[in-house]
């Protein structure tokens, strides 16, 4: 097609590729953005530009509360996963090569499974007669099943943490893998003990992976509506469910689009910050 040096005039291939990108990515995104500026009157969309939706979602205290609660929940999930994911990745990294590969594949397999099945599985784990309660009772920690494990925001936190863990572990593991053995040897050769090697070399070199993982986790958790819908109950009402309800129940597409645009801006902001943090000066 247009591969080749010194070719300045775009060929037919470029036009084709651009039209695919425009048709399937830019135009839909533009439509979506545009819908945020329309309104609904008597169950019909009025195609006259207005900022009413944005005014409403900023002034409505229940929207604001849901938004802040969701952002906070996503932040918590990211923080929990950063600790859990780092420990997991570090543990895998320290195994012998064969075991390491096995564990990485085992960790990646759930990514190939249906998301909704994983959430149902978590519902089974957290439920009154679920795995977690049975285990707690068998261990004698509780006398009767704990119902507080399901249908609240904590259930959403636990479910998202479990389901999104691979997105955290994999980038950290890749960052750890990229540390040359000789660099670690050099640290101990210069007299660093294990703790000094970890805090001085391993952690700073692998943390950019953790930031990428935290970005994935945050963006996926803040926009998710299936997990809150299925395990969150009334208490676990999140921003993702709010958007879903505008499209699926209230038939207010313009408001749903406006809500989505706000979330998208937050996600883009997080991605921007993560790109800066995850790509420190010494790497550029």
């Amino acid at each position: 097609m247009t591969v080749g040096a010194g070719r300045s005039r775009p060929g037919i291939g470029d036009y084709l590729l651009w039209s695919v990108i425009a048709l399937f990515i830019i135009v839909p995104l533009g439509c979506f953005l545009a819908y945020g500026f329309f309104s609904v009157v008597d169950n019909a969309i009025v195609y006259r530009p207005t900022v009413g939706n944005f005014a409403e979602l900023l002034s409505n205290p229940s929207y604001r509360a849901t938004f802040l609660r969701t952002i906070r929940m996503a932040f918590e999930v990211s923080a929990i996963n950063l600790v859990l994911g780092y420990a997991t990745a570090y543990f895998i990294w320290l195994r012998p090569p064969g075991m390491r590969n096995f564990l990485v594949i085992a960790l990646a397999i759930p990514l190939l499974m249906s998301y909704i099945i994983k959430i149902y599985a978590m519902r089974g784990v957290l439920g009154t007669n679920g795995l977690l309660n049975s285990a707690l009772m068998a261990l004698g920690i509780v006398d009767e099943p704990v119902s507080a494990l399901l249908f609240n925001l904590t259930a959403v936190r636990i479910t998202l943490s479990v389901v999104l863990l691979p997105f955290m572990v994999l980038p950290i593991y890749i960052a750890l893998e990229r540390i040359p053995a000789s660099v670690l040897h050099a640290a101990s050769d210069l007299g660093a003990n294990e703790l000094q090697t970890f805090t001085g070399i391993i952690l700073p070199l692998s943390l950019p992976g953790g930031i990428v993982g935290a970005m994935f986790t945050f963006v996926l958790a803040s926009g998710d509506f299936l997990a809150p819908e299925l395990v969150g109950g009334i208490e676990g009402f999140t921003y993702g469910r709010l958007i879903f309800s505008q499209f699926g129940l209230a038939f207010n597409w313009p408001l749903g689009a406006a809500l989505s645009i706000l979330l998208m801006c937050v996600a883009l902001g997080v991605i921007f910050v993560a790109r800066r943090l995850g790509n420190p000066r010494w790497q550029r």
Partner: protein
């Protein structure tokens, strides 16, 4: 090897700085290093030279502590350090890939050894400044490794290894990644730093010319064994084995070789191409005895030399400062190579012409062992 041939001036300074006895490394059933002895003397530049797979890097890694030995003792200054963890060994390493810390500046890299020892900030700054001065990187101290050239990274790695003032530095093929010009510069630089600092260098390379130009002594390794230890001149002019002879470019090997007589530091041997005098006593073990003649030993002034040979010129190639002449022995058709300094005035010998060449007893050596 029958007796430990650790070489070197053992007597003059008493104990060697590093004394290795019976050190072996095995990977499962494979011996990467057969138990060997080696002495490294205080203040010397000792090079471990060998082709890939000779065990030279494994030996260095065992000394540094990255590779646990399966047998033997490593004594530093009279103390066995074979069981000491890497971070407590009293010397430092320059790595083949430099192994700089990518997230630290040159200054932070160099100061790392002091930082982990809890050195006070002011003292650290002073000592890092001195080390950066030695390697000429004062101006680049705030750069990150990715912003440095190969030679600058190399200098950073050297300064980092020197900062704790070790008495011994291990260098694992540190020049392998540099281009030819830079490598020559760094050879001179390393050698001068070593001489001025008085730090003992244990240097690993596969490049014999590098070993010759830099080392006080060279230890040639082959398949996990020490083949020969000696000064560059000894190895160059008096190789003991065919392997060492070939490695240092004594490419004319004549065999079989029989000892006729030996007296007064001179040995007379008979070979298929004639009888020759060789400087030095005959080797104790004469299995696979052969005569190794350096290509540059041959001279056309045959009448002034003790040994001479009659050849037919097979090919002449001019390679700049040298002219390489392929010679066919008249009676046996055995091929020899002669290297001579190119002479703009003289006409090169013509192909097919006959040429009588001579060589001195000091420019050939009796070697033993299997073919390399």
């Amino acid at each position: 090897m029958a007796k430990p041939d650790t070489g070197g001036p053992d007597s003059e300074s008493g104990l060697p700085l590093l004394r290795i006895r019976g050190l072996g490394v095995s990977f499962g059933p494979v011996d990467a290093i057969s138990p060997l002895d080696l002495d490294v003397h205080d203040g010397e530049f000792l090079t471990i030279l060998g082709p890939s797979g000779s065990g030279k890097t494994t030996l260095l890694r065992a000394i540094a502590g990255f590779q646990p030995p399966s047998a033997g003792r490593i004594e530093f200054d009279g103390r066995d350090i074979a069981d000491l963890p890497i971070n407590r060994r009293p010397f430092n390493t320059v790595f083949q890939d430099y192994a700089l810390f990518p997230h630290m500046t040159v200054r932070e890299n160099v100061g790392f050894g002091l930082r982990v020892r809890g050195t006070a900030r002011r003292q650290m700054t002073e000592r890092v400044d001195i080390a950066l001065g030695i390697v000429g990187l004062e101006e680049l101290d705030s750069r990150y490794p990715a912003q440095l050239s190969g030679g600058q990274q190399q200098r950073t790695a050297l300064a980092r290894a020197m900062i704790c003032e070790p008495r011994l530095i291990l260098l694992d093929e540190p020049l392998a990644a540099l281009d030819a010009t830079l490598r020559r510069q760094m050879q001179n630089f390393l050698k001068s730093v070593q001489r001025q600092s008085g730090i003992t260098f244990l240097f690993v390379t596969h490049d014999q010319s590098e070993a010759i130009t830099m080392s006080d002594r060279i230890c040639v390794m082959r398949t996990g064994n020490i083949e020969q230890i000696g000064t560059p001149r000894e190895l160059y002019y008096r190789p003991k084995s065919r392997f060492v002879a070939a490695f240092f470019g004594a490419s004319n090997i004549v065999e079989p070789c029989r000892i006729e007589e030996s007296r007064d530091d001179m040995t007379v041997v008979s070979t298929p191409v004639g009888t020759f005098s060789v400087k030095g006593p005959p080797p104790e073990n004469t299995s696979g005895l052969a005569l190794a003649i350096r290509p540059e030993a041959f001279g056309s002034d045959a009448e002034t030399r003790m040994n001479s040979l009659e050849f037919e010129v097979a090919a002449v190639s001019f390679v700049g400062s040298e002219t390489i002449t392929e010679l066919r022995h008249r009676n046996t058709s055995l091929m020899f190579t002669m290297k001579s300094r190119s002479d703009p005035a003289a006409r090169p010998p013509e192909t097919g012409s006959f040429l009588r060449v001579g060589f001195d007893p000091a420019e050939c050596a009796l070697v033993t062992g299997a073919e390399s």
